[in-house]
């Protein structure tokens, strides 16, 4: 299979890797760039554990060929905290029980971050509609909803 040079921005830093055409973004991130914050769950784009932002758009890294991010900006969970300072959403997830085991948390946080850009003060329905694509088996989602509410300054 042919190899392609993929040049993109990962959490603000310029990166370039050579990958085969069928290399998925999640494998490129985890195996070639050591960015293991993005998690593999179902592997078929259902559970949301691998959620990343590509130019601000929420996508599943387990479905996306890495070559598609050539020239684009990718944000993963590692890119949310600026200069080691947790975002309000990250901090709220800790305080409100937004996670337990933490495996879905990178995806939840990336999705919640995108939600709060689109809807800075989301209604309960907007939270539920937006976050439906991110499964969590630990929390029952109540803590996630509380955390998003706190991060949005609504509690």
């Amino acid at each position: 299979m042919t190899t392609h040079r993929v040049a993109f921005t990962l959490n603000g830093a310029a990166r370039a890797i050579d990958v085969p055409a069928d290399r998925l973004l999640i494998d490129a991130l985890r195996d070639e760039l050591g960015a293991t914050g993005t998690k593999l769950g179902c592997g078929i784009g259902v559970c949301g554990a691998c959620s990343v932002l590509v130019d601000g758009e929420l996508l599943s890294a387990c479905l996306l060929p890495a070559i598609f991010v050539d020239g684009h900006a990718v944000t993963t969970v590692e890119g949310l905290a600026a200069d080691g300072e947790l975002t309000a959403t990250q901090d709220a997830f800790i305080r409100d029980g937004g996670f337990q085991c933490g495996i879905c948390t990178p995806g939840q946080l990336v999705a919640a971050t995108a939600l709060l850009v689109e809807h800075p003060r989301p209604s309960p329905d907007e939270i539920r509609t937006w976050m439906m694509g991110n499964l969590c088996r630990c929390t029952g989602y109540y803590g996630i909803e509380r955390a998003i509410g706190r991060a949005a300054g609504m509690t």
């Binding site: 259902v46 088996r137 909803e145």
Partner: protein, 741 residues
């Protein structure tokens, strides 16, 4: 170690408890988990690491005639290929080692493994796996637990007597296809039935479900000289070390098991599979080898919740008081019993078929049966989701038949301290009357029962159910070090998300009367910390938490002996230990309101109230999260979850087809805590991780009957089942599933 310090009544801590346990809870591993820094097994890589694929049986039962691995071995990038010939007679398992590391003569379920490949990439390994040619001779498959016990059934484990069983003698079994068999009897059952006003018998079924953790299993194994290193998703690393040592013939001292953060467990990750074959591949290739299970394989070939058929018969007097009870539970154990850790080889609480009630006389029979299905193991409160669904549906049916309100029926029968319960022993736990009284008030029960239905709108129904759960048992130890005024607790407890490290931090800080920030908690691999029993059995808060408390107390005593304050005592080290053998239990109860669309059977839980007896609260955020998460775990299993099998093959092995609740599926949940009854854990704490999930299914079924008058006899409670009952002619419906008298 009876009377270990962790479990004496606590005195003189009230002021310290108030000061530190009142502090906000902030997860000690929280920052790592929200920044992506937390490392899970699949995140660990090593230079030169190989990737693994397995060759699995497409047949539920077959003899292996021949395996040809030459094409696989010839593929560039393949570094090692092994088959059952290389691993026999090695078998794996938690208590009974009956599961071949790789099969060499017969395969017993679809997904049973016959070969393993290590290659430079996962793609190459998978390509090689497809090139392995296996010739099978298909054998008659036993797919049904009743058929498996028949006289004609093929014996699935003819060599069972040679299997390793940890800890004494394996309990005897009356049929070769049984994994386990147990009976319990107390009181005068016959007299209870003779005195009965009415006798009721009902039979319920519960399907296989998957634990549905989001993280698939993963393992990384390498050899460093003689020492085998294992990075794993297993939540009981010391137990895995013991299992691997026995199975592979390696001294425990030469195995180091390291379990980092675990991406969800719910009972399933006590069983390891890949680690064993990886040890052979590491040896054959001389390289580190890693496997990350594809989710579909995790669902087809690991260890599910047991499917079960539960038949209950109960004799009652005219007021609905229970006089005697008999039951028979048949668990479909699948191809191997390896997933079950308890001595009986039954799922944990298999015998509790009428838990939470006064039962003066009972005869209980439970068994787990070998079939050619996916092996079954432990899943959150093992045995109880099955039994609670049956018992709490049964009690409701009895109440309705007698014209007694379902909550009144429970109030008349619920256990209070000292009452004889289904175990035949005096109940040592929550006052059930208090739980139900709180439920009646909190759920506004009287109002909910009289809410009028409006014409054309969905039918409204309310349902109640209660459940009990033992407060965990076992023994544990950990190390507490004092250095320069800071204390570090070193533990072997793996983090599966329950909040153990934060719990330990808060216990130690509370006991020593120091700020939380001066206590760090460090996890160590099996070569770095004292033996730990692992996460499970509702054990972490009372037992491992008890060891943390004991360590803090020992440090306090040492400081007092030295006449030193913590800040200037120099370096000290103590070992905390705890052992918990009592049979304390907690109780919880639900009141749910459902809306049922009578045209379609579609059902929605509109609101839920949960009353839970939790004792002293140490981690308020984690405790709430465990109860909420337990409710939704139970809600998924109540409404949507079923691992569907056709001829032994899972037909919905992905989150696209195996539905678990999303954020849009969860109803408002009101949680009411009872905290005034101290438990056996630190400062009077109890455990909650497996407290809240089992009773949800029956609460929904009871509410559905309240709404539309039909009974669903099996989980999950789907629109199809309700609609089928709604459209069934009345005379047929009367006799379906149930026989009274």
């Amino acid at each position: 170690m009876p009377g270990a310090p962790g479990f004496r009544p606590v005195t003189n801590v009230a002021d310290r408890t108030a000061s530190v346990l009142g502090d906000p809870e902030y997860r000690v591993e929280g920052r790592d988990k929200v920044t992506g820094a937390a490392r899970y097994a699949a995140d660990v890589a090593m230079p030169g690491m190989l990737h693994v694929a397995f060759v699995a049986s497409p047949y539920a039962h077959a003899r292996i005639v021949a395996i040809d691995v030459s094409d696989a071995r010839a593929l560039p990038g393949v570094r090692a290929v092994i088959t059952g010939e290389d691993t026999k007679p090695a078998r794996l398992g938690r208590r009974l080692q009956d599961w071949p590391v790789l099969c060499w003569d017969r395969v017993l379920f679809i997904g049973d493994r016959v070969a393993a490949i290590a290659a430079d990439s996962a793609a190459i390994a998978e390509d090689a796996a497809r090139r392995v040619r296996v010739e099978y001779e298909e054998l008659p498959a036993v797919l049904d637990a009743d058929a498996a016990r028949g006289p004609q059934a093929p014996v699935l484990h003819p060599d069972a007597s040679s299997y390793r069983y940890f800890g004494g003698d394996r309990p005897s079994i009356p049929h070769p296809n049984l994994q386990a068999y147990a009976v319990h009897r107390h009181g005068d059952v016959d007299a209870g039935f003779r005195a009965a006003h009415r006798v009721y018998s009902h039979t319920f079924t519960v399907p296989r479900t998957h634990q549905a953790y989001i993280e698939p299993r993963a393992a990384l194994v390498w050899l460093d000289g003689e020492v085998l290193h294992v990075v794993t998703t297993n939540k009981a690393p010391f137990a895995l070390r013991q299992q691997m040592a026995a199975s592979l013939g390696i001294a425990e001292a030469n195995i180091v098991v390291d379990a980092g953060h675990i991406g969800g467990d719910f009972g399933g990750k006590g069983l390891s599979l890949d680690e064993f074959a990886l040890a052979y591949l590491a040896r054959a290739s001389g390289r580190p080898v890693r496997s990350v299970t594809r989710y579909a394989d995790d669902m087809q070939a690991t260890n599910t919740r047991h499917a079960a058929t539960i038949a209950l018969t109960t004799a009652v007097d005219a007021d609905g008081r229970i006089l005697a009870h008999t039951s028979r539970v048949v668990f479909d154990g699948g191809a191997y019993a390896a997933g079950k850790p308890v001595a009986t080889l039954l799922p944990g609480d298999a015998m509790l078929t009428l838990a939470g009630y006064r039962v003066p006389a009972a005869s209980v029979e439970a068994m787990s049966v070998y079939t050619n299905q996916v092996p079954a193991g432990h899943s959150r409160a093992p045995g109880q989701p099955q039994n609670a669904f049956a018992a709490e549906s049964h009690i409701d049916l009895v109440a309705r038949s007698l014209g007694i309100d379902p909550l009144v029926m429970r109030e008349r029968n619920v256990v209070r301290p000292g009452d004889i319960d289904i175990t035949g022993a005096p109940w040592h736990g929550t006052d059930g009357a208090e739980v139900l009284a709180r439920l009646r008030t909190a759920a506004h029960y009287a109002e909910a029962r009289t809410t009028p239905h409006s014409l054309g709108a969905p039918a409204i129904g309310s349902g109640v159910a209660l459940g009990v759960r033992h407060v965990g048992r076992g023994r544990a130890s950990m190390v507490l070090r004092l250095s320069r005024g800071r204390v570090e607790l070193r533990t072997g407890v793996a983090d599966q998300g329950g909040g153990a490290y934060t719990l330990f931090q808060r216990i130690v800080a509370t006991e020593l009367g120091i700020p939380l920030g001066r206590v760090t908690v460090t996890r160590g691999a099996t070569d770095a910390v004292p033996n730990d029993p692992g996460v499970g059995g509702s054990r972490v808060t009372p037992v491992q938490g008890g060891a943390a408390l004991d360590a803090a107390r020992k440090l306090r005593v040492r400081l007092a002996e030295l006449g030193r304050a913590l800040a200037d005592a120099g370096d000290l080290e103590v070992i905390g230990e705890a052992s918990q053998e009592t049979h304390d239990a907690s109780m919880y109860a639900y009141a749910l309101r459902v809306l049922v669309d009578v045209e379609t059977g579609s059902t929605k839980v509109e609101h839920a109230t949960l009353v839970a007896d939790v004792g002293t609260v140490i981690n308020p955020v984690a405790l709430r999260g465990q109860l909420e998460g337990g409710f939704v775990f139970g809600l998924g299993q109540a409404l949507m979850e079923e691992l569907r099998l056709e001829d032994g093959r899972v037909t919905n092995p992905s989150f696209a087809d195996y539905k678990i609740p999303t954020i849009a599926d969860v109803p408002p949940l009101q949680v009411e805590l009872i905290t005034g009854d101290p438990g056996p854990g630190p400062f009077g704490a109890k455990s909650v991780g497996e407290l809240a999930n089992p009773a949800v299914g029956a609460a929904v079924a009871n509410a559905v009957q309240d709404a539309v008058g039909v009974r669903v006899w099996s989980l999950p409670i789907t629109a199809e089942k309700i609609w089928a009952e709604l459209t069934r002619p009345d005379e047929v419906r009367e006799v379906a599933g149930s026989a009274e008298d």
